[in-house]
């Protein structure tokens, strides 16, 4: 920032300090003072100026200060107990302990006791009989007691006193008085402070010059108040300019999870394209998960290494009719579907086996018999696959799938729909249709799109449901079945390269991950 801009945005406290500095621009902390700036405010100003590189640090010196403790403050007002005792004996020849206590009520037992002991040690006090004392004739109060009193008053007058400025005797008094009797009981407290020597940098000099030219006084108003508005006193006041280049504090705010935000966007897009949402159960029968989709029971994708089986209960008690019988027939010999079937003995018990939903297409299978014609349906469903969890496999993941039913549905409308998905969901213009294989569709197609950074990548698979799938559900019209691979798109939009991070459990990471709108 230029000196002029800086000068315009300086805080009034900064202005006051700058204007109070001498021409050479030197500032010694602790001794420097500017009007309307407390020592604490001065420290803040120094921090600000250092951060703006208007000041530079020349040296730091350590100073030890003598301050009065609470007890010290008391003795400044009341005299020390030793002084008080000496004064008493100016008018009394002998005093018993009890009389002494009664005459000096402002001191507690310990204070009196220790003063008494010290005086006895100095041989100023003589015990004339048991418990009765008199002052040693003609003796004055030893010098160190009066010195102590004088030092207390001196510190009191100055507020604090620099240790190095004390005489040797004073120093030993302070050290004795602050250390021997412990902190609470002490009269003096030693405070060590760092005092900085600073000077204005060239920038600082220029800023100060600019501030003078701008006519800044340090009396600018920092904030508009309701009172100013009420009495109109805002008129004629000048308001401090703000520096808007300073980084604001970081907010912690309520926020959608980035991965869900991405999924929400896909859901909204599909609803916008006329699709109705389907929802289902996490636990499914093999019947709906596979049989109804014409995956033969001997299919390798059905074995124990691909699907999670439920431990308890293992089987559903019954299957929905007439679907179960019709699907069984389609597998065995085609039934009424016009197919040869897979030609094997269909195992009805296997059909009832409970599994964790392994593909979103289950929902499409379940929806067929209640779907409207024409109809478009979609689901973003959690699925489970028996896979080693790594950078490309999550224990569970989302599949986005659906169906389109209609009298006019055929292969070219399937291609039209996929082209629409490529454009609307993946924003891809360049596409390629490749023949594909799925047990439940024929013809089957994979759509590849050209992604600006990933290059050619598979967007999804689709096809027209086989008659062996739709006829047992009582559907007579052609049905498109489609699925979109969202994970790679989501990882791209969120800038991730490990699929496990879609389900991140690191709050710092979530707070800083953004979903780009263009991906």
């Amino acid at each position: 920032m230029k000196p002029e801009e800086l000068a315009a945005t300086l805080h009034p406290l900064e202005i006051r300090v700058l204007l109070a500095l001498g021409p050479e621009g030197r500032l010694a902390e602790r001794t420097f003072s500017a009007e309307g700036v407390t020592q604490a405010q001065l420290r803040t100003v120094i921090e600000w100026q250092l951060a703006k590189e208007c000041m530079r640090l020349l040296a730091t010196e350590e100073k030890t200060w003598v301050e009065l403790t609470e007890l010290g403050e008391k003795y400044a007002a009341q005299k020390t107990p030793a002084q008080a005792i000496f004064k008493l004996f100016q008018t009394q020849t002998t005093l018993s302990s009890a009389q002494l206590a009664a005459s000096l009520p402002v001191y507690d037992q310990a204070e009196r006791g220790s003063a008494f002991g010290a005086l006895k040690k100095e041989n100023c006090l003589l015990e004339v009989e048991n418990g009765v004392f008199s002052w040693k004739p003609a003796a004055s109060l030893p010098a160190r007691f009066s010195l102590e009193q004088a030092l207390i008053e001196k510190v009191k007058a100055a507020g604090r006193q620099e240790m190095s400025a004390l005489t040797l005797e004073e120093k030993s008094l302070v050290e004795g008085g602050s250390r021997k009797r412990g902190k609470e009981k002490g009269v003096f407290r030693l405070v060590t402070e760092q005092a900085r020597q600073l000077e204005l940098t060239e920038l600082g000099q220029a800023v100060r010059e600019a501030a003078r030219k701008l006519g800044r006084s340090g009396d600018e108003v920092n904030a508009l108040t309701s009172a100013m508005l009420a009495d109109g006193s805002w008129r004629g006041k000048s308001f401090r300019r703000y520096n808007l280049q300073i980084r604001p504090p970081r907010r912690v705010a309520g926020r959608r999870n980035p991965y869900r935000e991405f999924l929400d966007r896909v859901r909204r897009k599909l609803i916008g394209l006329g699709f109705e949402e389907m929802r289902g159960q996490l636990v499914e029968t093999e019947f709906w998960n596979m049989d109804a989709l014409f995956m033969p029971q001997f299919h390798s994708a059905r074995d124990i290494h691909d699907v999670y089986f439920v431990k308890q209960p293992t089987h559903a008690p019954a299957l929905e009719e007439p679907f179960a019988s019709r699907v069984a027939a389609a597998h065995s010999d085609g039934g009424q579907t016009g197919s040869r079937g897979w030609g094997y003995d269909f195992d009805r018990e296997r059909s009832r086996r409970l599994v964790l939903r392994s593909q979103g297409t289950v929902l499409s299978a379940r929806w067929l018999h209640r779907a409207a014609v024409p109809g478009k349906y979609f689901a973003v469903a959690r699925c489970f696959r028996y896979d080693q969890v790594d950078a490309t496999h999550a224990p569970d993941f989302f599949q986005c799938e659906g169906i389109v039913l209609g009298e006019q549905i055929d292969f070219v409308t399937l291609l039209g729909l996929l082209r629409l998905f490529a454009k609307e969901v993946a924003r891809a213009e360049e596409i390629h249709f490749a023949p594909a294989y799925f047990p439940f569709t024929e013809p089957s197609v994979e759509i590849h799109v050209k992604h600006p950074t990933l290059g050619w990548t598979e967007l999804g698979g689709a096809g027209i449901f086989r008659p062996e799938v739709v006829r047992p559900q009582g559907v007579e019209v052609p049905v498109i079945a489609w699925g979109l691979g969202l994970d790679r798109m989501a990882m791209m939009a969120m800038g991730l390269d490990d699929i496990r991070e879609l389900f991140s459990s690191d709050l710092n990471r979530m707070r800083t991950t953004n979903v780009r709108l263009r991906d």
């Binding site: 089986f309 308890q312 489970f384 969890v389 055929d410």
Partner: protein, 556 residues
């Protein structure tokens, strides 16, 4: 989905014309294949996606399909003709491995390269199509050493011995099953049988113990050999025959002269008592011409069907308004006329079809439960909560031990791969605590929530469990308390329009005296409480936390 290795020069010899990597990539659409790059030895790696087309799982098969597209179909005359040898099957194999068939091939020059391809094809057919040798397994032998007729019978594995491939000394069959690497790998195919399949020649020499391992004497094929005996055994004769048909065509494509071998079974099979292989399964389908147009959405003429499918290797007979399409002998994958239509579309090229938008108008609609979920999420975000999303599959430890809970039962996985992913969550709190436990360095306060599905064990439900949509919320900071969570719950309930009240009740995850059931009218729909220090300790969380969890559907 098998991935195979193809030698580029071998492949181009099979093709009869040149083809580079880039051209291969585009041509692979014809075989539902995907080019996966080169391996260290410079061989092409190709993934084949059609699990119903085992004929394509070899360099020969891919080349054959691509050649056909250029009109270079080859005739395979050996599906006719007299057998040149015989296998006699003895009774006793019915329950073990009843099917066997074989052919011979001469004039094929076995090289390192062609042998590698042959072994790969044999393996892919037996592993994928033959389901790890259970349904089909294949053996290849040096024909010159074999005397017909060959015998296939069930024997006592302790009573016979031979030298298996890879070993020097004769071993009893029982020992091969337990000691030979292939015996260990595939022995379970024969498990539970007192007798095992055994192939021997007329001189009593051992060919193999199918489907485990060949003998070293007859069953070791080496570069330089030119006459082979190829057999397949299995449980399904149609599959056994198809595997041999594919191998016979592959070897013929390499210049071999295939001759049939007859198998005489003790009883009739669906293909008769005497079965000659290779045998054309002669699969065909009649399909009305209108089906092409109806399914594809473009007009199709009989001439076009004829031209296009001929170039895909099929035989087409136009019969009035129908066509009869007969598959080549190495294929048996037509189940329904739609399969024929797809072949037509692939052979014509998907790029030749102009995409057309579906014209039907339909109204898009979110599920009501999803709408409720979205509304809930909006309210929570308004309250300053950060949303998380977690895996549903997690561990019993997190769901129970860490939460100081024992009941109710969980929906658990029977075939556990990893204990960390062995049970479906029945609550969202463990997911929220997992995030908290890993986020101690993130600026506080932490207000976390998740709206998501859980599964509740319920033996009365049709699937033994019910999928429910829950909301879980967690507040974590130095002064986090029940009151704060309660105020948020109160706001949320008001936003969702439900009259929610609390009934004090203990919960093992919460501090005694500081937890309550959340009631909607009189129905319990969730919990509110301050997390028990024991729970926080188990999660290694050093900051107080309060939470609530609600079932959302009752609020609909």
């Amino acid at each position: 989905m098998p991935t195979i290795t193809v030698d580029p020069s071998d492949f181009q010899e099979l093709l009869g014309f040149a083809m580079d990597e880039a051209a291969l990539g585009t041509h692979l659409d014809l075989v539902k294949g995907e080019f996966k790059g080169r391996d260290e030895a410079g061989q092409w790696r190709v993934e084949l996606n059609d699990t119903n087309r085992p004929d394509l799982w070899s360099a020969e098969g891919i080349a054959r399909q691509l050649r056909a597209a250029r009109g270079r179909r080859r005739d395979y005359p050996f599906f006719r003709g007299e057998p040149c040898g015989e296998i006699r099957v003895e009774p006793g194999l019915e329950a073990i491995r009843p099917c066997v068939a074989a052919f011979v091939v001469r004039g094929v020059r076995v090289t390192e390269r062609s042998l590698a391809q042959l072994i790969q094809t044999q393996e892919k057919l037996a592993e994928n199509f033959g389901r790890k040798r259970k349904d089909v397994a294949i053996g290849v032998y040096n024909l010159a050493k074999i005397r017909f007729p060959v015998s296939y019978r069930a024997v006592d594995p302790r009573a016979h011995a031979y030298v298996p491939l890879g070993f020097e000394e004769p071993m009893p069959l029982a020992e091969i099953l337990t000691r030979h690497p292939k015996g260990i790998q595939y022995g379970d195919v024969l498990a539970g049988h007192a007798r095992v399949p055994y192939l021997t020649d007329a001189g009593g020499l051992t060919l193999s113990m199918p489907p485990i391992i060949n003998s070293r004497e007859l069953g070791e094929v080496q570069p330089g050999d030119s006459e082979l005996f190829v057999e397949a055994t299995g449980t399904d004769l149609a599959k056994v025959l198809l595997a041999l048909d594919i191998l016979a065509c592959d070897l013929a494509d390499r210049g071999g002269r295939v001759q049939r071998v007859r198998t005489v079974f003790p009883a009739a099979t669906p293909f008769g008592r005497e079965v000659d292989a290779p045998r054309d399964l002669d699969l065909g389908l009649s399909i009305p011409l209108t089906e092409f147009g109806r399914l594809l959405g473009v007009p199709v003429t009989p001439v076009e069907v004829d031209n296009v499918l001929e170039r895909y290797g099929c035989e087409v007979h136009v019969e009035g308004q129908s066509v009869r399409v007969v598959l080549p002998p190495y294929r048996a994958d037509y189940l329904h006329p739609v399969d024929v239509v797809e072949d037509f579309a692939i052979a014509r090229g998907y790029e030749t079809f102009e995409p057309r938008m579906p014209r039907d108008f339909t109204a898009g609609r979110a599920d009501p439960v999803s709408l409720l979920e979205d509304k809930t999420r909006d309210a929570m975000i308004g309250l300053g909560y950060e949303e998380i999303i977690s895996n549903i599959l997690t561990s019993r430890t997190e769901l129970r031990t860490h939460m100081q809970r024992e009941a109710p039962p969980l929906v658990e996985v029977a075939n556990v791969m990893n204990e960390n992913f062995a049970a479906l969550r029945d609550s969202l709190l463990p997911c929220l605590l997992r995030v908290e436990a890993r986020s101690g360095t993130a600026t506080y306060p932490h207000r976390l929530f998740e709206a998501g599905e859980v599964a509740w064990f319920d033996p009365q439900a049709p699937h033994g469990s019910r999928t429910r949509l829950l909301l879980g919320a967690l507040v974590v900071h130095r002064e986090a308390s029940l009151s704060e969570a309660h105020a948020d719950l109160d706001f949320l309930a008001q936003q969702l329009g439900g009259e929610v009240s609390l009934r004090e009740e203990e919960h093992p995850s919460f501090l005694p005296g500081r937890s309550a059931r959340v009631l909607l009218a009189d129905r319990p729909i969730g919990w509110l409480g301050e997390l028990h220090p024991g729970v926080l300790e188990r999660w290694q969380i050093g900051v107080p936390a309060a939470a609530f969890e609600l079932e959302l559907e009752p609020l609909l």
